[in-house]
Structures are given as structure tokens and as C-alpha cells.
């Protein structure tokens, strides 16, 4: 098992390297002149063009540019923002924290509720609750998350029921100071991440409930509550943990549209602002960051999956 995990780790590092190549390639190594693309119509001024090319090190050979950029990125030095001249890392710090807060609250709320719904659906298999939850998850899984957010805004922040603020107002430093502003973004993200968790929990629980050891526990005359909590549930959680990890990885990219919609001051909104302003170093830093989170979480999910699989755990250690 250690060998398998080491293999996955090595592979993860290789993936991260490729990811960095893609981010760099898509932004800085394109045949078109990035400086010209950034300045757009203002590119007519050769002095500004030259200054920007200097700032982005565009006059160096491509390989050296990449090396310098990567060496900086490893120690979290992504250069300076083209808007305001602040170091990118300093600019992103509070925003990352804001996004992480949002994601963490979502995870803490969504994961247990989704697992409970899935487990309950399995216990009520083919009854009304099961059919309803199956239909609802199918519907919610399909709708793009920004549309879910808009529907929630329409329902809860406009018209008859104006109980919550439609957009976030405030800085990224104190996102926890006004919890009512977090409700809609968290609710939207929770609805977006839950369906796969619910479905996996239901499937996994059904499999466990039909297993022989649960039957045996029932035949021994154990109370149903003990059977479910002591025997069924702990064994059903393994495969679900992997899905939860994958959904958390998805959150890293999924927050972009939601932060844009709710005007939430995290990395997603920062990315959209950077794209609007063609702020190259910030675009590079944020996309790399999201991809790294995604890769690392996927890797963890893989390892969790390996660890939860008794065959792998026992056989090749």
C-alpha cells in the first residue's frame, strides 16, 4: 500500500508540474504578445509597452521566464499585481482566507446533512422519501450552480420574501462579522455539492444493509438502532469519504461563479476582476492555486479510497 501511495504522490507532483506548464503556457507563452494583449488599445504607446514587457520579463527567453515564474510560485512569490502594484501574494492572502471560510462552512454544513439524507433514503428504500430525494438530487445536480443561486436570490432576497441580502457588501477581512450575508452563498454551494454525496451515501448504505454481517446482526436480535449505527453506517462511510473529498476539490473552482454572483470578496471574484483588467500575474496565481487545490484534494481522495479498500490495505503492504 505504501508503494501505491508513493506512486500516486509522485504522479501528483508530475501533474502539478504539467498544471504549471499549462497555466504559464496559456498566459505568457502564447504566440501573441501578452503585453499587447494586456494593454489592448493603449498598446500604441511604445514606452508603456516596453515598460510592461520589462515588468513581465518578456524580453527573456521563454524557458528562463518559466523557470523564474515557477521558482517564484513555489515560494508564493507571484510577482506584483498590475493594478496597484501590490505583491500578488499579499493581495490574495485575505481573499484566500475569505474563500476558505466560505468553503469550510459549506463543507461542515453540507456533508453531514447530505450523508444523513442519503442514509435515510437507503433505509426508506423505494418509499416516498427515497423517490423524492432521488428526483430532487437529479434535478439539482443538473442545474448550473449560478442558476441555483439566482433562484435563491429571487426567492429569498427579492419580491415578497426579502429576508436575506442579495449580494455581499464588505471587505474580505471580516467575512464572519455579518453571518446573514453568508447564508445565500453557503446555501447555493451546499446545494451544488450535495447531490453526489447523497447518491453515493444511499448506494453505499444499501449495499451495506444487504450484506451478510448486517443480516447476522439482525438475526442475533440486536435492536435496529444498534444495527444501523454500529454495524451499517461506519462501513458505508468509506466510499462516501472519497466523494466528499472530490466535491470539496470541485468547490475550489465552483466558488468562482458563486462569488461573482454574490459579489463575495474571495479568490473567485478576484479572478474575474483580474480577467476584466487583464491583470496577468493575478490570473496566473489564482488559476494555479485553484488547480493545485484540485490536484491535492483529488490525490487525498485517491489515498482515502485506497485506505478504505480492505483488499488494498491488507494485500500489498
Amino acid at each position: 500500500m505504501t508503494r501505491l501511495i508513493l506512486y500516486r504522490l509522485g504522479y501528483g507532483v508530475l501533474t502539478l508540474f504539467v498544471v504549471s506548464l499549462v497555466v504559464f503556457g496559456a498566459t505568457q507563452a502564447l504566440p501573441s504578445d501578452p503585453a499587447q494583449a494586456i494593454l489592448g488599445r493603449e498598446a500604441a504607446d511604445p514606452a508603456r509597452l516596453e515598460a510592461l514587457r520589462q515588468q513581465l520579463n518578456l524580453d527573456q527567453p521563454l524557458a528562463l521566464q518559466y523557470w523564474n515564474w515557477l521558482a517564484g510560485a513555489v515560494v508564493l512569490d507571484f510577482g506584483t499585481s498590475l493594478a496597484g502594484g501590490m505583491p500578488v501574494a499579499e493581495l490574495l492572502g485575505p481573499r484566500i482566507q475569505a474563500s476558505l471560510t466560505l468553503m469550510l462552512i459549506t463543507a461542515v454544513i453540507a456533508a453531514p446533512i447530505a450523508m444523513a439524507i442519503g442514509a435515510f433514503a437507503a433505509l426508506r428504500r423505494d418509499r416516498r422519501f427515497d423517490h423524492t430525494s432521488s428526483m430532487v438530487t437529479l434535478v439539482l445536480a443538473a442545474v448550473p450552480e449560478f442558476a441555483v443561486g439566482i433562484v435563491l436570490i429571487l426567492l429569498l432576497a427579492t419580491g415578497a420574501l426579502q429576508v436575506l441580502p442579495a449580494v455581499y457588501a464588505g471587505s474580505s477581512e471580516d467575512v464572519l462579522s455579518s453571518p446573514d450575508q453568508l447564508v445565500l452563498p453557503v446555501l447555493t454551494l451546499a446545494i451544488a455539492v450535495s447531490p453526489p454525496i447523497i447518491r453515493m451515501m444511499r448506494a453505499s448504505m444499501i449495499e451495506v444493509l444487504e450484506s451478510e454481517y448486517v443480516q447476522q446482526a439482525r438475526l442475533k436480535g440486536l435492536p435496529e438502532r444498534t444495527v444501523i449505527w454500529r454495524h451499517a453506517a461506519p462501513n458505508a462511510i468509506g466510499p462516501v469519504a472519497q466523494v466528499i473529498a472530490l466535491q470539496l476539490g470541485w468547490l475550489a473552482g465552483g466558488v468562482v461563479a458563486i462569488e461573482f454572483l454574490f459579489n463575495f470578496p474571495g479568490i473567485g471574484k478576484t479572478l474575474m476582476e483580474a480577467i476584466e483588467a487583464r491583470n496577468l500575474p493575478v490570473i496566473q496565481a489564482v488559476t494555479l492555486l485553484i488547480a493545485v487545490v484540485y490536484v491535492v484534494v483529488n490525490l487525498l481522495a485517491d489515498i482515502v479510497g485506497l485506505a478504505a479498500n480492505p483488499k488494498v490495505r491488507v494485500s500489498s503492504r
Binding site: Y11, T15, L16, V18, V19, V22, V23, A26, T27, L30, S32, P34, A37, R125, D126, M135, L138, V139, A141, A142, V143, P144, E145, F146, A147, I150, V151, I153, L154, T158, G159, A166, R199, M200, R202, A203, I206, G249, W250, A252, G253, G254, V256, A257, F260, L261, L271, M272, A274, I275, E276, R278, L280, I283, T287, I290, A291, Y294, V295, N298
Partner: protein, 295 residues
């Protein structure tokens, strides 16, 4: 195409699946509901431009007005007729989504079949490259490329098709691995059919079920991703009438003029829900059991 071998070989190995799949899928209520929902939205998208009272870029009144004569759902943030823009805004989204899904599934099918059948270094290379591509969240990769190259329709189609292709390839490869083991493929190899013929006329007809399911799934995702890109301002550009873009333009005035957002959001939601219901029906039918099947 050698219709003789194509028809005879799969027929001998398993009962013909294709008509069966659609018919089985149709038995589920969700498939019927899905077809009705999808058809309704497609109808709006296809017929809309011909029945709209105004042109999508024509001024119809003061900005963000509701309850005015001649504009059923009022005007948008610039003063254009919301209904007309809604009726014009569907076909681009549907066309781009279907095109990129088709391209992605086709490319994924080719990659998956080749990888699953040849099972040599090409397989290893293709699948490992795939894994690397999977390391990027689809939306973030699209944003990264579009932000620098500029939002262009062909680029959106290519990006979405590529990110679909590697996900489809995984599924198709798994399906191919199962088919390759079967006797009719071995017999085709024994009589010396060229490999591309085996892949095209022996393997492909036997993996149509997972392919159809994938197509449905990919169309659902394409609609969602493209609508999201437009909503983020990275898809179709103003003054085009487009559902995602309409939501972007209308969201600021959502309290005064909700219709400019309600109509396109409803259309996008209904379309994705419909497509997903059909996909779920297909996937249940293709796995061949009525219960306990999860996507």
C-alpha cells in the same frame, strides 16, 4: 462499411441493443418528463427568433421598465424588449452546447476505443495525458484560456469539447475493455480484419449504450458550463441576445425588473433538468436494472 459483419457479429453475441435502449429508457416516467421539458426549451430556442415582436437589439422603451404597452415582460437594462431577447437568446447556447458535446463525445469515443483496444504504449500515453487534463476544473481552464485569447465562440467549443473528450475517453475505454474480451472480436481478428475495421464495425456498435448516456451527460454539462461562461461575461459578447449574458446584464436590476433574469434562468434550468432526466433514463436502461442505479 461491411454491413454484413457489422450486423451479424453483434447480433450473434448479444441481442441488438440500440432500439432496445431507447425503448427501455422511454418506459421510465423521468425520460418522458425529460423529453417534454427539453423539447419545450428547444422549441423556444428554435422558433423564438421568428415570432419575437422586436429585434433583439431594438429599443422598446425606457430601461428596466415593467408593465408597459407592447412589451409583455418589460424592458432590460438598456431598454430592449426582454421577451424578444429571450426568444432570440436560446439557439446560440443550444447550438454551441450540442456542437461541443458532439465533438467531445466523438473525440472521446475515438481515443477511448483506440486506447482500450490497442492497450499498448498509446493506451498508456493517452490515459496519462487524460489524467493530466482532468487536473483542471473545466470552468477554470476555460476562464484561463478565454481571459488571454479573448472570448471567441470557436475557442469555447474547442475548450469544452477537449475537456469532455478526456472524460468520455475514460468511460469508453472501460466499455471497450469489456467488448474486446468477447468471442466475436477474437473471430474478427482470426479472419484477419484490419484493426481499424474491428474498432469501427465490431467494437463501436457494441458500446453505443454508454456512448448515448455520455452524450446526454455531456450536453447537460455543456449547457451548464456555457451558460456559466456567458454569465461570467466570458461567453457571447454584447449586444448578442444570449440567456447567460441576459442573466449577467439583468442581475443588477433584479429587484426592479426580475423578468430579464427569471425567463433565461428558467430556460437554462429546465433545459439542463430535462437533459439530465433523459440521461438518467438512458443510463438506467443501459445498465438494465430498474432500481438502485446511481449515475
Amino acid at each position: 462499411m461491411s454491413t454484413a459483419t457489422a450486423a451479424a457479429a453483434p447480433g450473434a453475441a448479444a441481442p441488438p441493443r440500440r432500439p432496445g435502449l431507447l425503448r427501455t429508457a422511454w418506459r421510465y416516467h423521468r425520460t418522458k418528463i425529460g423529453v417534454v421539458l427539453t423539447a419545450a426549451v428547444l422549441l423556444v430556442a428554435a422558433v423564438g427568433p421568428f415570432v419575437s415582436p422586436y429585434s433583439p437589439t431594438e429599443m422598446a422603451g425606457t430601461p428596466n421598465a415593467t408593465g408597459i404597452d407592447g412589451a409583455l415582460f418589460g424592458t432590460d437594462n438598456v431598454g430592449r424588449d426582454v421577451l424578444s431577447r429571450f426568444l432570440h437568446g436560446g439557439y446560440t447556447l443550444v447550438a454551441i452546447a450540442v456542437l461541443s458535446a458532439l465533438a467531445g463525445v466523438a473525440a472521446g469515443a475515438v481515443i477511448g476505443i483506440v486506447a482500450g483496444y490497442l492497450r499498448n504504449w498509446a493506451d498508456e500515453l493517452l490515459m496519462r495525458t487524460n489524467d493530466m487534463l482532468l487536473a483542471f476544473p473545466q470552468l477554470v481552464l476555460a476562464l484561463l484560456l478565454l481571459s488571454i485569447l479573448g472570448p471567441q465562440v470557436w475557442l469555447i467549443v474547442v475548450i469544452i469539447a477537449v475537456s469532455h473528450a478526456n472524460r468520455v475517453a475514460r468511460v469508453v475505454r472501460e466499455a471497450t475493455l469489456k467488448v474486446v474480451e468477447q468471442d466475436f472480436v477474437k473471430s474478427a481478428e482470426a479472419i484477419g480484419l484490419p484493426r481499424w475495421r474491428i474498432m469501427a464495425s465490431e467494437i463501436l456498435p457494441n458500446i453505443t449504450s454508454p456512448l448515448l448516456v455520455e452524450l446526454g451527460l455531456r450536453i447537460t454539462y455543456s449547457v451548464g458550463t456555457i451558460a456559466t461562461l456567458s454569465f461570467l461575461g466570458m461567453g457571447l459578447q454584447p449586444p448578442t441576445a444570449d440567456w447567460g449574458l441576459m442573466i449577467n446584464e439583468g442581475r443588477v436590476a433584479i429587484t426592479v425588473q426580475p423578468w430579464a433574469v427569471v425567463l433565461p434562468v428558467t430556460a437554462v434550468a429546465v433545459l439542463t433538468i430535462g437533459a439530465n432526466l433523459i440521461t438518467d433514463g438512458l443510463s438506467r436502461a443501459s445498465i438494465g436494472i430498474d432500481r438502485g442505479v446511481e449515475k
